[in-house]
Amino acid sequence: GINCQGGSRMCCRQEFFVDFREIGWHDWIIQPEGYAMNFCTGQCPLHVAGMPGIAASFHTAVLNLLKANTASGTAGGGSCCVPTARRPLSLLYYDRDSNIVKTDIPDMVVEACGCS
């Protein structure tokens, strides 16, 4: 799975929901009631670098170990846990002239994480 569970330390998606009522924005944001921002966290050891998602198959891991061992001599920065899939956030809100505005903001919700 791609969600961070229990003690998993590998790169994964940490769910994080912002409740607009909790932050006092429910008066001007009509819909939705909150924003599932989510974020990526965890480690990216070299043998899973470049994995699109964290579900690295055994075969891929072996291939990457070979790659990593040969590559370990090369100078190379760490691999980072970053978003690999995101979707828009649809908002319905009041602007300061009390007009109702509807818009889709692209790339606001992190759906999956992977190692760069």
Binding site: C4, R9, F16, V18, I23, W25, D27, W28, I30, Y35, M37, F39, T41, G42, Q43, C44, G77, G78, C80, C81, P88, L89, S90, L91, L92, Y93, Y94, D95, R96, D97, S98, N99, I100, V101, K102, T103, D104, I105, P106, M108
Partner: protein, 219 residues
């Protein structure tokens, strides 16, 4: 944000932080992200709250389910706006409607794609009324309103009317302020046939694009 002190991602040089501080940081990040993407410097403060009745009526009329529009290549953002009228009665047969479009968007180059006026008329049964819609714009040299163009429509039943607004009105919306006048050719009516109370407040719906680079207009 690293989860444990030894999981230092090269990109995040900070020390691991406690969960409360982390939560506070993430809430602040989420707020800033939403405001940035909406081109707002701060969250709006609502001066004239909209009644639930007006909100419900307007949303029923807004175009169907949001069409998932992929963002334009050059970063334009699409909006649909409903602007409620500040109504003023010039006289029984003449209703003035003022609409304000937020300067947040006009500042970054608002391009009106399509705009239409929605208003509710209440006329006696079995009568037909002629309505004139005047689009008034601020004159170039003075602040007086001048007639830009005029539409005429025949109404033979009570209910919601929709009028598509042309380029003059769209240009006025892009500038942030649109003034319309609805004139009913009277048959001696005792009260205005344009209703303006909560659930029947006239409004303009507009499809808007903001923030793209200067679009080349193909001729």
């Amino acid at each position: 944000i690293p989860r444990a002190s030894d999981s230092q991602c090269p990109a995040c040089k900070g020390p691991a932080m406690d969960l409360d501080h982390q939560r506070e940081l993430l809430l602040d990040l989420a707020k800033r992200r939403i405001l940035d993407k909406l081109r707002l410097s701060q969250r709006p403060t609502l001066n004239t709250p909209v009644s639930r009745a007006a909100l419900r009526t307007a949303l029923q009329r807004l175009h169907g389910p949001p069409q998932r529009t992929l963002p334009e290549a050059d970063g334009e953002q699409e909006y649909e706006i409903i602007s409620f009228a500040d109504t003023g009665l010039s006289n029984i047969n003449q209703t003035r409607l003022d609409f304000h479009f937020s300067s947040d968007r006009t500042a970054s180059g608002m391009e009106i794609q399509q705009a239409s006026l929605m208003f509710f008329v209440q006329i006696p049964p079995n009568t037909t009324w002629t309505l004139k819609l005047r689009i008034l714009v601020v004159g170039l040299r003075d602040t007086n309103l001048t007639l830009a163009t005029q539409h005429q429509l025949e109404v033979d039943a009570s209910g919601w009317q929709r009028l598509f607004l042309g380029p003059e009105a769209q240009a006025a919306c892009s500038q942030g302020h649109l003034t319309l006048e609805l004139v009913a050719e009277s048959q001696g009516g005792q009260s205005s046939i344009i209703l303006g109370e909560a659930a029947h407040r006239p409004f303009v719906t507009a499809k808007v694009k903001v923030g793209g680079k200067h679009r080349l207009h193909r001729r």
